[in-house]
């Protein structure tokens, strides 16, 4: 394997540019040629989850026409990966041509940590990050993709890192895409408890694999004037010094 396609995702491209840089850096250190997926901006999950099927279909068509099967497609998001790998099946059920395309790329789509640990069989990337870190597992990553241990495997191999236990860590942070603006009060109540757990963990940095969680948790910490930072897993893996 010599080449990967890196799909930025809309949230990373617009709000967390360092995530894509870091993901590319990590993949390049693993001696892969990284080709960004430039022809598509969004996988369509926002429209899909909101029930806007036509719009989601258009975006899936865009995406499927912008990638090639046979070359791994790496995505720094559990949620977008679930969309591409799993929910495209439901979305495209009535469109045989697109559906065939989705089926063809499906085995080639991977979330970043899933790709590094399960496909490349790599655990140690030579990262150094001298901070106290709590890992928040994102929901789709765990429950749709079944990626539960991989991020921790990678984090544990980072030099200088101090892992802090996050209580009830598998509970959703309350982001949920449009849920966060449709039911902001419920979303905020979930966030409030997540932040309390983060504070009691003693972490300086919260790490997650999804920009959605980073937006929610980071936005909550910022509003509270808290010094704790949020980082994508890719950023920690790309770091060379504390």
């Amino acid at each position: 394997m010599t080449e990967v396609q890196l799909f930025s995702t809309c949230l990373a491209e617009e709000f967390f540019p360092e995530v894509n840089d870091a993901a590319a850096t990590v993949l390049e250190r693993l001696r892969l040629k990284v080709t960004p997926v430039r022809g598509a901006f969004c996988c369509g999950q926002v429209a899909f989850n909101e029930g806007f099927r036509d719009e989601a279909l258009d975006l899936s068509r865009r995406f499927l026409n912008s990638v090639e099967p046979g070359i791994p497609i790496v995505v720094p998001s559990g949620s977008c990966t679930s969309m591409l790998k799993i929910f495209y099946g439901d979305l495209l059920a009535d469109d045989p041509a697109l559906s065939a395309k989705a089926m063809a790329i499906r085995p080639w789509v991977f979330e970043l940590s899933q790709f590094i640990v399960n496909v490349l069989k790599v655990k140690y990337i030579g990262a150094r990050y001298e901070r106290a870190v709590a890992y928040h597992p994102s929901c789709h990553l765990m429950r749709e993709l079944g990626v539960r241990d991989e991020p921790m495997t990678l984090l544990s191999a980072v030099a200088g890192i101090r892992i802090r236990e996050l209580r009830d860590r598998e509970e959703c942070c309350g982001f949920g895409g449009m849920f966060s603006v449709k039911f902001p009060h419920i979303s905020a109540s979930m966030l409030e408890d997540k932040l309390a757990r983060i504070r009691e963990s003693g972490a300086e940095v919260v790490v997650a694999n999804d920009c959605g969680c980073l937006m929610q948790i980071g936005g909550g910490l910022s509003r509270a004037g808290d010094k704790i930072e949020v980082r994508h897993l890719a950023e920690v893996l790309a770091a060379r010094q504390g």
Binding site: E18, N20, V46, K182
Partner: protein
Amino acid sequence: MAEIPKARDFFESSRAAVSDHELRRKLESASARHLDHFAEVKAEFPAYDDERDAAHRIKTGAIAHLDELLIELKSKLEARGCKVFFAEDAAEARGYIVELAKGRGAKNVVKGKSMTTEEIELNGALERAGIDAVETDLGEYIVQLRGERPSHIITPAIHLSKEDIGQLFTDKFGIEYTAEPEKLTAEARSRLRTIFLNADFGVTGVNFAIAETGTLVIVENEGNGRLSSTMPETFVAVMGIEKVIPRLEDLSHFLEILARTATGQKLTTYTSFITGPRREGDLDGPREMHVVILDNGRSAMIADPVIREALNCIRCGACLNVCPIYRRIGGHAYRSVYPGPIGSIISPNLFGSAAGYLPFASTLCGACKDICPVKIDIPRILLHLRWKESAGEHRLKWPRAIERARRGARRFAKMARHPRTVRALGKLAAMVLKPFAHNGYLRRIPGPFGNWTKYRDFPRPRPHQRPAPGPERPPG
């Protein structure tokens, strides 16, 4: 059709619920307790996942052959001396039971715990006919005394503390205040015993109905189901059409999982098998037994191949316990008899569009699907219901801010079809908003997603396509 308040009430009720920290504390501790017990019993039962698969398979098969199974069940029940009534909707079921109670001159109705009778609003109908109906499950008894509805399908009084219940008993019975569970339970027990002894008409729900033998199975912990079904002269069992399973041997799979997921027990204290009324020579049991089999929208759910799966539900309540939303707003906020993840599927289908907003009130985190003992893919069905709503003729009427946000999401999706345009707009937004950012975040954002900054800051847009590696972002 059950009495369901207007759609936008959910927004108000959930808002009130999340600001009630006392309620959140009670919900949190009760559901955590359930889940801890579940984790323990699951750990010592390695066959758990095999049993889940078996239960899923049996239920799915039963729903696919429901017509045949119901005919078989009916004939077996009748052969055992039961009267069977198929009720098309809640009104028919209510009407049948109320007329029966009147016809038998019933004065004191006792009820075993049953969500289906909540669904058909039986208590209110009996009351209007001048017949006193008492809930005899402790939790149901408590919420009935408070004039409330159950807030959980297994733990009806989950929203109350022992202090709340102590106060309730002092107010209602004039007894000295105590918050000791043993004393409160003893008080309720002695009152309920008297009620049972005077009962002339019993109503319970049904957990499983076995077609092969015509046996109804009731699973419970307090004996109220057994007493309600055996002490009164007339006994009525109320069940949804989906409760039927083909054979007696199928049952063991469900008994292995139901108590474990529902309450963290290996088996409930009482598992009653009821096969017909009292026979010649029997020492006890009702003289007369009726089985009301309720459709009330369930057939329509079967007609949809995705929604159909929700009828596998065995009402264990585990998805409520594990749901991060239920845990913060509680059952009453849903404004429906069936709250939580599974309720968000059932309610719009049984009660119509007034509950149509519920499938949207989920982050699709999937904790419900993970725990479901019959493996219902709840998030997938919620998504399906969202599409149906968006494509349907009877669109939901959302509160204005939410309608705006939804339109915004739709506009974004349309724009995102043109990556170059959306990237250019992203850059523009970044430029416009940059002066307003503090430490990388915006305190307030305009436009359709403005709700976000009611509760948290919004990251400043910084669109960028990768030039050189830059591993560390400046703090903040």
